[in-house]
């Protein structure tokens, strides 16, 4: 059940062979070595496998790799530029929004899309929580994560 697909991954065009039974999560990890994409629950509950598909967050565990044909995917590996972390990544570090780290790449991608979507908008902490509701974290209690996102949006204002 093999197919060739072409997609853009972190800004680079790639053509690869996949099996139609593979999830995007498996292809990203096993074929492309993008290990930031974690498998947590594998059923779309935890968000650890969040990637951006055409800039929209999805759970890569519930997405067939074949559907990515012709689309553009972003993972945490593509967010930093020349050893400089993206603003969302740096703010997560500054606010201590990272503890054990397993949920962090998924959170960073969900937060990145949230910040891009809500640029120049006044957003409440509650709305940030709702915007990140598809990601679970067992360490931080979420507060530092929400603060990090708020800070990214506030900086936009300035």
């Amino acid at each position: 059940m093999n197919r060739h697909i072409t997609f853009t991954i972190n800004g680079k065009k790639k053509e690869i062979q996949i099996d139609v039974r593979q999830s995007l999560l498996e292809v990203l990890r096993e074929k492309l070595g993008l290990l930031s994409v974690k498998q947590g629950c594998a059923v779309g509950e935890c968000g650890a496998c969040t990637v951006l598909l055409d800039d929209v967050p999805i759970d890569a565990c519930l997405y067939l790799a074949v559907w990515a044909d012709g689309r553009s995917i972003r993972t945490v590996e593509g967010e930093s530029r020349e050893d400089k972390l993206s603003r969302v990544q740096q703010t997560f570090v500054d606010e201590g929004a990272v503890q054990c780290g397993i949920c962090t790449p998924g959170f960073v991608m969900a937060a990145t899309s949230f910040v891009e979507k809500h640029k120049q908008q006044k957003v409440s902490r509650y709305e940030i929580r709702r915007g990140l509701a598809g990601n679970l974290c067992r360490c931080t209690g979420y507060d530092t994560i929400v603060t990090a996102v708020q800070k990214c949006l506030d900086e936009d204002d300035a």
Binding site: R21, Q22, S23, T50, L53, D59, V66, N135
Partner: protein, 292 residues
């Protein structure tokens, strides 16, 4: 790797109908958020897939010449929730679909998939049956239309023949134009949860009377249901606090909740009577009415 045995990709509605016809065991996969979970759990009855994920002709939200609103079944919940047309004319639907899953799931899951799964907890179903939505179905022998309410036959059973697929969901102008609505989902968490009870009310007011009410519940019976007994009793009545308590007293006769691990039947009945009042009251307020 998911463990399905055959996979065929449909590029159009006609192709999907043909592919279903060729394989009596085939199941449709759309957004994948339910089907891939079933496959992950190794459910063998879903071994053969016809993939309709990328059928472009089923992704749309539009208004026809009669101003009816028509939604393509492969429209994602995010697209439904953010559609200007939906937010302007049927905000109750936007409100309901925003309670489903989390952002990632809403970006992938489709409104047609939610309906065709046929589960009693489908959060998009109660606003749509309250709005008297109709579904358009296409198959080998042509197309047919039916009320969404009669599309639901039982738990995980809908009125689709094997070779048929859902192609449109229609809300006619007369069913939304003068109506306002409200939705509430009772669940244990505010996101990423399945409804314990879902409730939608849409109403039309005339001066201080309730000219029309449509009240619908999810998880209150084997299928999403309307409370037609209650609706008939209150149509045309003056809007008073007594009206709301009468609605609460009347709804238990319209519903058939059961006990599951999520909630006991008695608890569900309690939620249903409470939500009936609160959701109808908010729908009345949204319509510009007052309860006094």
């Amino acid at each position: 790797m998911f463990n399905f045995k055959s996979y065929a990709r449909a590029g159009s509605v006609q192709e999907a109908i043909q592919l279903l016809g060729q394989n009596p065991e085939a199941h449709l996969i759309a957004g994948g958020t339910d089907m891939l979970v079933k496959l992950h759990k190794g459910k063998a009855q879903f071994d053969h897939l016809v993939d309709i994920h990328d059928i472009a002709e089923l992704k749309f939200i539009t208004q026809n010449d009669a101003n009816d609103i028509i939604i393509g079944p492969l429209t994602s919940f995010t697209q439904v929730a953010e559609s200007e047309l939906i937010r302007k004319h049927i905000p109750v639907l936007s409100q309901a679909v925003l309670t489903i899953g989390g952002p990632q799931v809403r970006n992938m899951a489709t409104i047609g998939g939610n309906l065709c799964n046929g589960v009693p907890s489908a959060d998009s179903a109660t606003p749509l049956i309250a709005l008297d939505a109709a579904v358009m179905i296409e198959g080998r022998d042509g197309s047919r239309q039916m009320p969404l309410e009669s599309f639901f036959l039982g738990p995980s059973q809908v009125a689709l023949e094997h070779h048929e697929i859902l192609t449109a969901i229609t809300i006619t102008r007369d069913n939304y134009a003068d109506y306002s609505g409200h939705f509430h989902k009772y669940a244990m968490r505010e996101a990423m949860d399945i409804s314990t009870i879902g409730c939608s009310a849409v109403c039309k007011l005339k001066d201080d009377t309730l000219q029309d009410l449509r009240l619908a519940f999810g998880v209150a019976a084997p299928v999403p249901i309307r409370c037609k007994g209650t609706e008939d009793k209150v149509r045309g009545r003056k809007i008073t606090p007594k009206l709301l308590t009468d609605i609460a007293q009347s709804v238990p006769a319209d519903v058939r909740p059961r006990t599951s691990w999520r909630a006991a039947k008695e608890f569900r009945l309690q939620i249903i009577t409470t939500l009936a009042q609160r959701v109808v009251e908010q729908a009345i307020l949204n319509a510009g009415g007052t309860v006094q």
